[in-house]
Amino acid sequence: MILKEIAELLESGKSKATKELVQKAIDEGVDPQDILKEGLLGGMSSIGEKFKKNEVFVPEVLMAARAMNQSIELLKPLLAEAGVESVGKVCIGTVQGDLHDIGKNLVKMMLEGKGFEVIDLGTDVAPETFVNAAIENNCDIICCSALLTTTMHVMEDVVKAAEAAGIHDRVKIMIGGAPVNEEFCKQIGADGYTVDAASAADMALTFVQ
């Protein structure tokens, strides 16, 4: 019951109340892994589905993600103690020449909502920075975002850099943003494109399962 309440509070974006209830669940001896999976990630999964259907919008997703991030801090030491690992590692950034970040931020939050560890490289990220970050952090996936038609082509350079570094066979490359589509994804040799942030997180999960 308390896990359902956590999920509902998270969905409504109430950070303080979510955090308090997570603490209560911990104090009551609820398994931290259940709090994470059924409470926090359950709430994020639900809001992700609503986002895909245009039932909620960007602000609700951001608020829910903030509630998750604040609450998860309480769980981190307990999860580490129990040897619980993230479902996978992703490095994410907006490609070189492009300073737009709200789309990238949304995908990052949705990925965290699926249990990924996400390394945020920020905006204006060079192809080699994506690749180096993926190698250094042993990432499963590189996520590239672009809003501009003049910068989307940098995504192809990321794919080429990953191939040159010999990591593309083990690191998937996902792309997203207003100017890109499935056709462009295939054309540049990337591994996945989705139309929205929630679907990106779903696809990422399929790459690590």
């Binding site: 974006g13 245009n54 909620v56 919008f57 960007v58 602000p59 609700e60 951001l62 608020m63 903030r66 020449g97 300073l99 737009h100 970040d101 709200i102 931020n105 501009l148 038609t149 003049t150 910068t151 207003a178 100017p179 589509n181 462009f184």
Partner: protein
Amino acid sequence: MNISKFLWDAAKAEPRQGLPILSFPAAQKLGVDVEQLVKTSELQAKAMEVIAKETDILTAIGLMDLSVEAEAFGAEVKFSKNEIPAIVGQLVSDEKEAEALQIPSLEAGRIGVCVEGIRQAKERITDKPLLAGTIGPFSLAGRLMDVTEIMYICYDEPETVHIVLEKATEFLIQYGAAMKAAGADGIMMAEPLAGILNPEMAEEFSVPYVKRIIDALQDENFGIVYHNCGNAVPRMLDSIFSQNAVAYHFGNAVKMDEILAAAPADALCMGNVDPASQFAQGTPESIRAATKELLEKCGKYKNFIPSSGCDIPAHSSWDTINAFFEALKD
């Protein structure tokens, strides 16, 4: 000129005339880069003129450079030779900074450059009305407060956002009045950030301020075209149409035929051929097909003017742009 009547007459006429948000590709025709264009009045005037004269665009249209207003407030701008300028950083993060924010003068940043560009364009273009381009109030506040951070602040400290919106609105009224005095027949006001809000938030943080700008500036000879290219638009149509703009411009995140089906017959709507996949990356054949499809679905509405879904990227091929206009004539 009565811009409202002009646009309504065009919407009812056959063949359809388009009003795409077409300004930056003029840089190709002038042999200059985007940075030069956004910093020079004369080039801006020439850009509006070359498009007005060499295409069948319904009205001349000013540059949709949505960094100008935030720059005037003191925000940092990153210029590029190939892309429209972008705002970086966060100028206002809390109530104290919001209170301290000064409404800039019309000499700040490149405001004077843009107003002078409109004045010169009006002298050069005598056969078409001229719409200046400005940002909308919530989108300006987002650039001052960071587009992600403002979403949190809307929840945590809504009064802080309202302080910034009050100042943004006051400035946009002054800027719009300057454009009007310089000879513009109206303004295309871009409010894209409101399009990702939920309807309740748009009702609180955008609509009243847009309405205030429209009420202050709009008259028989000067009209506001409201642009919102967000995907949340279908959920907020009633409040959008309550703003009393002379026309409403929508992006390719929505289905134009569904918008028109929901719109009252006295709301003039424009949209929405994809600027990225068609104007920038498409071919003459693909944009012709996309434009014809749009006309097939929306041509029956007499409150519709075909357009791009948003600002057309600077590097878009002129063959493709011309094919959009040709498709309207067929």
